[in-house]
């Protein structure tokens, strides 16, 4: 059934095409201050993913009807640049981007102390400049770093990572080929200090056993990513 069973993504030694162990992430670099005119910004390079996030605010929320009396509004946009993928992406309305923007906003709202800024707005802009599987995780991670860089108070950072399954093997942080031929994808948004979750999606086919392995891989990877983020923020939250 289907052709992907024929593509061998895991070698005899249990290693992946790019030499990683199943539980291993691609290389990740985080940098802040990449958008000089923003109040806070971060860039996450993660495999070939190149994602920036910029934060503007807190600022006055207008028109007034979007204001909330008891808290700030978090206005999050996730977007893929037209040149970020093999096939050019047409600018404009996009249901996938809208959904990712929504779940990203909800993940961040869970930690940002919005109640400190009533009637105001905080804009978070996530732009995928180059895409290679896992852009929503890179985006959430970049946004969390950009909020910290902007000095917006948060109860915890959010790091996000996805595990999945390919050739019947559960693996962490799928690269593009693994994503194309993979059987499942489980992205999670994790609070590194408490191990709690603020973001969860999943697509594909995972048995209950494989599901638990993927969950645990994500938890482990979150600690690793958190170290990189904390370094980038110069120990700001660690």
């Amino acid at each position: 059934m289907g052709g992907y069973g024929d593509v061998q993504m895991i070698d005899d030694k249990g290693l992946r095409m790019d030499g990683r162990k199943p539980s291993e992430c691609r290389p990740i670099e985080i940098e802040t201050g990449v958008v000089p005119v923003a109040d806070g910004s971060a860039r996450v390079r993660w495999g070939l993913n190149d994602v920036i996030a910029a934060v503007y605010g807190p600022m006055e929320a207008h028109p007034r009807k979007i204001q909330r009396q008891d808290r700030a509004v978090l206005d999050v946009r996730y977007n893929m640049a037209p040149f970020s993928t093999t096939d050019r992406i047409r600018p404009g309305f996009n249901r996938r981007s809208r959904e990712i923007s929504k779940v990203t906003a909800e993940a961040l709202e869970s930690v940002v102390m919005l109640e400190l800024y009533p009637r105001s707005k905080i804009r978070v802009e996530i732009e995928v400049l180059c895409a290679e599987a896992g852009t929503r995780c890179a985006g959430i991670t970049a946004a969390s770093a950009a909020l910290a860089h902007a000095g917006i108070p948060m109860t915890d950072l959010v790091v996000s990572v996805a595990s999945g399954k390919v050739n019947g093997v559960v693996v962490c942080d799928l690269n593009k080929e693994e994503d194309n031929y993979g059987e499942a994808d489980l992205p999670m948004g994790i609070l590194p200090n408490s191990g709690e979750l603020v973001f969860l999606q999943m697509d594909g086919d995972l048995s209950q056993e494989d599901f638990k392995i993927a969950w645990d891989y994500n938890m482990e990877a979150a600690s690793h990513i958190h170290e990189i983020m904390a370094r980038a923020l110069k120990g700001g939250d660690a």
Binding site: A184, L186, V198
Partner: protein
């Protein structure tokens, strides 16, 4: 006892009830409202279903179109799931372009069905590279009293399972039932008064926090997950609801099977 209408008071009221492990309409934590499921109720659709869960009512209809396969997948037909909520369904659903709420609902329902692989798009091909069937599932809310996600998913899979490919109308052979190899079902848990409950009503949604949607396949495999709204949850909390979902999704699957066999 009257139910408060102000969100903050409603929230407090639900929390008070939760302390005694009660729900606003007397149900148990993991008890659903009464469900009815009928198929074949829309004469112009090739497959259809109606689901009622308490005062939540939804319809699903399946239509078929001919399409030219995409050049890079010449042996495949198409499956499209569309689910917007129009303002008929409740006071809070506004007219206008699809809201983020409506888009999320549509995409989560779509993924639960698509990712289970229950429709084999290869089987929808008629002449490779030239003609194939496109299956279009439209789910439609009549009355939203909470938990549209589960109602949509249930009506959607039941409508697909009841669908007849209208080959005669398109003059390409005899009509036959659409092959649907699996019956993915969804159940959703909302945090209300601090703990997760099954099949939240509209009032519980209004006074609650985040929600988690779980779609499981025939063998208990996970096909789709989604956490929605602001909120933080733990691995332990998730494991508890997943355990319940395995049982509940199986019950819903029986409901579909029974409706189809009738």
């Amino acid at each position: 006892m009257s139910i408060p209408l102000v969100p903050e008071l409603l929230r407090k009221h639900l929390a008070d009830l939760a302390e005694s492990d009660l729900r606003i309409d007397g149900r148990g934590r993991f008890e659903s409202r009464e469900i009815s499921l009928e198929v074949g109720i829309l004469p112009r659709a090739e497959g259809s279903a109606r689901v009622q869960m308490g005062n939540t009512i939804v319809l699903a209809g399946v239509k078929f179109q001919l399409m030219t396969p995409y050049p890079d997948r010449p042996n495949q037909g198409g499956l499209m799931c569309s689910a917007e909520v129009r303002p008929v369904a409740g006071r809070s659903w506004e007219p206008g372009p699809p809201s983020p709420q409506s888009i999320e609902l549509g995409r989560v329902v779509d993924r639960g069905i698509r990712e289970s692989g229950c429709i084999d798009v290869d089987e929808l091909c008629i002449i490779p590279g030239e003609r194939a069937w496109q299956v279009i599932l439209d789910v439609f809310a009549i009355s939203d009293d909470g938990n549209l996600f589960d109602a949509f998913a249930l009506a959607g899979i039941a409508a697909l399972r009841s669908a007849i490919v209208p080959a005669e109308r398109f003059e390409i052979g005899e009509d036959y039932p659409l092959p649907v190899s699996k019956t993915p079902t969804m159940c959703s848990y909302h945090r209300v008064g601090g703990r997760y409950v099954l099949d939240a009503s509209k009032k519980e949604e209004l006074g609650g926090d985040e929600r988690i949607h779980i779609t499981l396949g025939d063998d208990g495999h996970v096909h789709s997950l989604q956490k929605g709204l602001k909120g933080i949850f733990t691995t332990d909390e998730f494991e508890e609801i997943m355990e319940h979902a395995i049982e509940r999704c199986s019950e819903l699957r029986d409901l579909v099977n029974n409706a189809i066999e009738k």
